[in-house]
């Protein structure tokens, strides 16, 4: 098969990309100069070797320091160890950081648990999570775990699983487990809100 089609097929596997846009990517590259393309190819090839996974929150990170095992957040002295926000993916963590409202730490599950999943422990970093929470619990520094998961069926299912998974530790070390507040989000008009959102907004009134 010719390289244009082959590369189109690879790009078509990128998240949110269809065959047509994938093909446009190829033609876009064909109009770049070779150095530009080589730079991208080199970055891609070395990406995994340069990017490490934080041994504490398991997010992807990069550091000049070859021996660094912790990301900038986990190694920071200014972040509160009493608060741990659990998210599904790196992009969620980054979006929360963008809001500048969380001063604590994170843990990235690396995915979610679909409803009716037989082996939920394989869909997310279950053991790593248990280890991290256990360690922090023993240090007696962890006070609250915030489950910051999507308000979708999969997100809610993931929250349930994580909560039950951590139950033994959280109850024995009485660590509070909380969920993101549900209610009306910015811009919402009551007239168009679904019953579920109105119910949450009333129950969580303040």
């Amino acid at each position: 098969m010719n390289p244009i089609q082959k590369l189109t097929d690879y790009f078509a596997e990128f998240p949110g990309i269809g065959p047509r846009q994938a093909r446009r990517f190829v033609y876009y590259l064909l109009t770049r100069n070779q150095n530009h393309i080589d730079e991208i190819a080199k970055l891609m090839g070395t990406l995994k070797s340069q990017v490490r996974i934080c041994t504490s929150c398991y997010r992807f990170f990069q550091s000049e320091n070859r021996d660094a095992t912790l990301c900038d957040i986990c190694s920071s002295r200014n972040r509160d160890n009493a608060l741990l926000v659990i998210v599904s993916r790196d992009v969620d963590l980054e979006n929360i950081e963008r809001a500048h409202v969380h001063s604590g730490k994170y843990f990235v599950l690396g995915g979610g648990v679909p409803i009716l999943e037989k082996e939920p422990e394989k869909r997310i970093r279950s053991n790593e999570l248990l280890r991290t929470v256990q360690t922090r619990a023993e240090k007696g520094e962890l006070k609250e775990i915030i489950l910051a998961l999507n308000a979708t069926p999969e997100g809610e299912n993931t929250a349930e699983y994580v909560e039950s998974l951590l139950k033994p530790i959280t109850s024995s070390s009485n660590i509070k487990v909380s969920h993101l507040g549900r209610g009306i989000s910015t811009g919402t008009e009551l007239e168009y809100s679904d019953a579920d959102t109105i119910k949450n907004a009333l129950n969580n009134r303040n």
Copy 2:
């Protein structure tokens, strides 16, 4: 001007209707039989005389009983007088009722207060609201007022105005004033949430 155009212009003033759809309304009517049209016209003409405004919550209502001054909710013995939900419009009240989560009473402001409005008291039923709340406060039955307004600039501005308007009564009779919970609404994915929503969701975690 010919009746087709005249009627088109009237329909074009209906909420959310442009001249083209207004014109289609007219042609739609031209294809109905006269009885059908007369029925609609009669209903429209008698609408205001048949529909009354509840003297307690100020929503529109209709009753076989000519002397009725209270809507079915305000006259019901099964609704909790301790809870008063304040909304902008009848449609908001109806949408909350659809959710079957509020067992108390309502008050319909009849509109909202735009930002920088010079005479906010004229944009909503200020005096009627004061009177209603005063009466209920004196009866000592009112415990909490819930401001159920849109999560929009106008909605928030309306909430602020209503809160300050009621301050003298609520503080002296210590009536709690609460707002709908802000947070992530059903279906929301964290990755696409704005900073403001994430902030609210974290602050209102539970």
Copy 3:
């Protein structure tokens, strides 16, 4: 049933209107003053009596002259009798007039013929069309019939039916029958055009 709900149901039958917007229409009317509502109701009630159907093109029209049987287009001396544009509905005729590109006459079918329709002659003004075309043909003034129908399956099916219906007259009086040009419409980008449109655009190149 109460008048608010009754009127909501009627409005919900208007083209393109759902129950929610229908309800908003009712509340909108409740905020108008009675005179305004009465004016609309009166216009609706007298609409059909004031609006006549042109005995030549069968479009709806209105005239001060009680005896007028022809619309302004059909009675105009400046319109070319050699060209007859056949459309499905009044709105199509009006949209073509808006483009100021047709100097001839019109005929409004009053609908379309769905695919597989058993009795197509009942879906459109078949007899009226035959009469109109026959008359014009006998006067020897009619040179071309332009079928201006939607580029949809129903539109194409309607065109086929009308063409076969008129065949006897058009062939004997050799009246040309043409269809709107098919091709790329204003704003179209080739990259996103369907095969059918590209085919038509190439075949109808000029």
Copy 4:
């Protein structure tokens, strides 16, 4: 700057990709295995060397035969040399091929001429086009040139420029120059068509 951000910035330059989706691409790659990434990187790096530009129609193509200078269409004996379709980009050519309606040859301009462009000759392959058309004209095989450009201001401006550019050759060798048919495209409803499209559809009726 770290490789995640660097690669995100490169992906954000891809056609139709914003910073968020670009970031998702990077995380997507981080979850692939190294071989998969290397394969993509290799394909990208060797793309330009493996893909050639046809010396006749100037589309991108690939061939096992190292010495091939013509794409499969230009080297085919089954394509009609009398017809030349001129398009802006490779994707346009591919979309026309998908429609299986053109049995002739192509020429890819490699872009378009924006309105008011001072140096149109630099925006498209002007010299290459002149050479190709000149050669074919001398062979006496070329009968018609079809300008298959977008129905947009830039597309129409490009058509005008190309037509004037080729005028000397086309008139002397009396080669017909045609444009894609303009009219209503598949699925169009007359009621929603703009005046320009209705005008074209009436003028190009057939």
